[in-house]
């Protein structure tokens, strides 16, 4: 049991990390959303597996929340927004894909180098899980700064959150995970709307150049 539990948990965590890498090299928004959905599904599976193998039923709630919110609701909403705003072709990487991948690999190396010595006393599962989730968090950050598009930034942010939940479900016996995942999801929803509102405002500002120039006193 313990061997199987370890291997399966490890594999599922690795799938989440793999999806993070997959997110990094997507050029189209729709496929980006699909990959994100797959990451959320992998996370759901991880949470469910941890709940089953450690006998902690509250993790089922986490899994359910992840499934409904991350794998179904948010992708659908984002999909609609993309269609409505007709921006499905614009992915605008600020950093080249090759460079991004190199940076991503170095970040994973860094987090393994960092976590393994620090957590020398913890169990093997916790250590690897922490290394994986730190990698996911860092890759999410990298994604946020290497894309110009707001949707991909939102997806990057949510993959950061996925990394945090991955870390939380891996640590044995953490009763706060449920509440944390709810709180994070609500926060993500707010941030999505916040960023969109910000972008729309920015668009308005940049559209109306005459007004801006009169503000700056540049027109005669």
């Amino acid at each position: 049991m313990s061997d199987l539990g370890y291997d399966a948990a490890h594999m599922l965590g690795a799938v989440v990390l793999l999806m993070s890498f997959a997110l990094l090299y997507q050029r189209r928004l729709f496929s980006l959303l699909n990959v994100f959905t797959m990451q959320a599904l992998a996370l759901t599976a991880t949470a469910a597996w941890q709940a089953y193998s450690h006998g902690e039923p509250h993790l089922y709630i986490t899994a359910l929340l992840t499934l409904v919110l991350k794998a179904i609701l948010i992708p659908v909403v984002l999909h609609r927004i993309i269609v409505k705003m007709k921006i499905h072709r614009t992915i605008e990487p600020a950093l080249g894909i090759g460079l991004t991948m190199v940076a991503g690999v170095s970040l994973v190396t860094l987090s393994i180098l960092l976590v393994l010595p620090v957590t020398a006393d913890a169990t093997a599962l916790t250590r690897e899980n922490l290394a994986l989730s730190l990698s996911v968090v860092l890759l999410g950050l990298l994604m946020m700064i290497s894309r110009r598009n707001a949707v991909s930034q939102v997806v990057g942010f949510m993959s950061i959150e996925n990394g945090l939940i991955l870390a939380a479900v891996g640590a044995a016996g953490m009763p706060l995970v449920v509440e944390m995942s709810v709180a994070f999801s609500v926060m993500v929803a707010f941030i999505i709307f916040g960023i969109f509102l910000f972008h729309i405002r920015e668009r308005f500002d940049t559209l109306d150049m005459q007004k801006i120039e009169s503000f700056r006193g540049e027109s005669d």
């Binding site: 860094l110 860092l138 950050l141």
Partner: protein, 680 residues
């Protein structure tokens, strides 16, 4: 322990007095309450400290449950704290006495309240200085230090209506922040090894050589900027004169001593065994400070600014003594180290006395004539005889004339300098010889400086109508000047009991007393190196000087004064109806030879003569310009660098979200890499 509770209660009482002063600012009794309460609290603390030093016994310690929750406030008063508690509170008592009279005189003259909130801030300033001295952990120390700085800054600002004050206050704030930042870093380095900020823990874990070197430099910069070490002295001559006179006396005579306390505490106590070069660096700074300070002082026409620059010089002498003590401590000759440290402590006491006295005298001149400009004073020995005599004592004491206390301090310091051949480091032997010569030069120039100050201000004829109509100041102000003057004489004649009182502090810091291994040490005789050779007896000195003076006076009266002399009635235009008497020797005339000799290279001082063409009736004009090299070398580059950095940092306000995220991401990655590297 209950004993320190007394001091803490006295400090709390100072806070209460401040609150009372703030509440009752408009009432006529407010100055009496504030200055009386402050003097009482200071007297209590000084008495406690003196008894603690005389009685010996264990250190008084106290842990207050305030401050950061996991640190608390550690308070402790050992022998060193007690010495400085005496200095600070003695200054506090006399300044309160003088300030009470000063406040009343200005109240009567201006018919209203003072121009700023001096009353509530004055006890706070003293409370801050006392808190620094009993702090026993880095957090409490820095908090008290900053409290002291801010209180004195607000006191400087209390004269904000005068045109120069805002500039002085801004510069003071800048330098105080710089100093506190340096101290913060120094304590950070000291506490790195074990993460405990109490002095006891720092003392138990002496830092490694590299960290110790960093701490020495940071302390010299941090405490040195407060004490006025060249080239960090620039704020001192602006800020000290700006405050009311009794506050100037406290800032110049007492607050700089708190900075000296910080240096001693860290260099001798917290850092463990010293290395020889610490002393070398400290001495070098001290010598530079002493010579530059007195040269600046010689070029000033403003009485209080002159006194502030003279403080720079005296701090230089004290720092030289500290450096010597470090050198001898590192060379394992503790008795000589104790001698040098005794010279430093004695000079600390002496300077606090005569500098307070001279600032009080400057305050009396300001009250009587409304001017601090030397060229508008003159002839005041006739109008203000008591002030003139007391100021003469102060000027003689600060010029290190026997049998006054300034002489004893300098003499002890030179005794320590003359022990330089006992050292093994050749570079130090040479450096100490140079430092000794510089100190001798500074002392001689200080003599010239105070002859100039006294001669121009009190002798000759009045240089302005106000000086001609000046009246003597009130009794409280005269008493405030008389107390330090009497102490100057007493300590000059009988320094040994005071040094005996300070002996516990010396034993604490260098594990020896200045009188160790000397068989012959009665209380009226000071013989630190040998009983027969270099020794000083103030009583004999006093008697001899008194006898010689009597003989001289009698001789002059018998031989010279009883003859009536007649001369032609030509006084160089001197005795006309003009009260300004513009043809007198002025302060600038007096300083000119020395300005020409030293100032032309060091300060780029230049005299410009504007001579009208023949037939032109406008007057010829002489103007003097000089530049402080510290402004050019330190302050201006510093302000340019700060401006440049601010300009660069300003751009960070206008980035896109993605750029902000990039910055944070990079910072996170760099920190993680650092963690990964240090975990290896």
């Amino acid at each position: 322990m209950a004993a320190l509770g007394l001091v803490v209660s006295a400090i709390a009482f100072l806070f209460a007095v401040a609150v009372a002063g703030a509440a009752a600012r408009r009432l006529p009794q407010a100055p009496t309450v504030v200055y009386g309460g402050t003097a009482a609290a200071c007297a209590l603390i000084a008495l406690w400290a003196a008894l603690r030093l005389a009685g010996g016994g264990p250190d008084a310690a106290l842990v207050l449950p305030v401050g950061l929750p996991w640190i608390q406030a550690h308070l402790r008063a050992d022998a060193l704290s007690a010495v400085f508690l005496i200095v600070v509170n003695l200054g506090g008592i006399t300044a309160s006495l003088f300030g009470w009279g000063y406040e009343r005189a200005h109240h009567d003259a201006h018919g209203g309240s003072q121009d700023g909130p001096v009353l509530p801030l004055y006890p706070l300033f003293l409370a801050g200085m006392n808190m620094v001295l009993i702090a026993a952990d880095a957090f409490t120390f820095l908090l008290s230090w900053e409290f002291m700085s801010l209180a004195s800054w607000l006191l400087v600002l209390s004269t904000h209506r005068e045109p120069d004050t805002p500039k002085a206050a801004r510069l003071y704030l800048l330098m105080a922040s710089f100093g506190t930042a340096c101290l913060l870093l120094a304590f950070g380095v000291l506490a790195t090894a074990h993460g405990d900020y109490s002095f006891a823990a720092i003392r138990a874990h002496a830092p490694a050589a590299g960290a110790a070197a960093l701490v020495v430099v940071l302390i010299l910069l941090g405490a040195g900027s407060k004490a006025g070490l060249v080239p960090l002295h620039v704020w001192l001559p602006l800020a000290h004169p700006a405050a009311p006179s009794h506050v100037s006396a406290l800032m110049s005579g007492v607050m700089t001593k708190v900075a000296v306390y910080a240096m001693i505490r860290v260099l001798f106590d917290l850092l463990g065994e010293p290395e020889w070069w610490w002393g070398g660096v400290t001495m070098g700074f001290g010598a530079l400070t002493a010579v530059m300070g007195v040269l600046y002082a010689l070029m000033q026409d403003d009485v209080k600014r002159l006194l502030a620059y003279s403080t720079v010089e005296n701090i230089g002498a004290i720092v030289i003594a500290l450096g010597l003590a470090l050198v001898f401590k590192a060379a394992h000759t503790p008795v000589i180290a104790a001698l040098a440290l005794a010279a430093a402590l004695l000079h600390v006491v002496n300077h606090s006395l005569f500098k307070s006295l001279l600032f009080f005298a400057a305050g009396a001149l300001l009250t009587a004539t409304g001017s601090r400009d030397l060229n508008r004073l003159g002839g005041l020995i006739h109008r203000m005889p008591t002030t003139a005599v007391l100021a003469l004592i102060g000027a003689a004491a600060i010029s290190a004339l026997p049998p006054l206390n300034g002489f004893v301090g300098e003499w002890l310091l030179f005794q320590a300098i003359l022990n330089a051949p006992a050292l093994s480091e050749w570079s130090l032997k040479i450096e100490i010889a140079v430092v000794g010569a510089a100190l001798a030069l500074a002392t001689a120039l200080a003599g010239a400086c105070f002859v100039r100050l006294y001669g121009i201000a009190f002798l000759g004829r009045p240089r302005s109508r106000a000086a001609g109509e000046a009246v003597e100041v009130g009794r409280a102000m005269r008493l405030g000047m008389a107390v330090p003057a009497v102490l100057c004489v007493v300590l000059g004649v009988l320094p040994t009991p005071l040094l005996r009182l300070f002996e516990p502090a010396l034993r604490l810091l260098v594990e020896a007393g200045p009188f160790d291994g000397r068989a012959y040490q009665p209380w009226f005789w000071l013989a630190p190196t040998s009983a027969i050779g270099n020794s000083y007896n103030g009583l004999i000195m006093l008697v001899v000087i008194a006898l010689l003076s009597v003989v001289l006076v009698l001789g002059i009266h018998r031989k010279a004064s009883d003859r009536v002399r007649w001369s032609i009635p030509w006084g160089c235009g001197f005795d006309g109806p003009d009260p300004a008497a513009v043809t007198q020797y002025t302060a600038s005339s007096f300083g000119q030879p020395i300005r020409r000799a030293f100032g032309s290279t060091v300060f780029r001082a230049r005299d410009h003569v504007d001579m009208p063409a023949p037939g032109d009736t406008r007057p010829a004009r002489l103007s003097v310009t000089w530049t402080d090299p510290a402004w050019v070398v330190v302050v201006e580059p510093l302000s340019r660098a700060v401006g440049w950095l601010a300009e660069k940092a300003n751009r960070l306000q206008f980035l896109t979200i993605r750029r902000y995220l990039t910055l944070m991401f990079l910072a996170l990655v760099v920190l993680l890499v650092m963690v990964a590297v240090t975990q290896r």
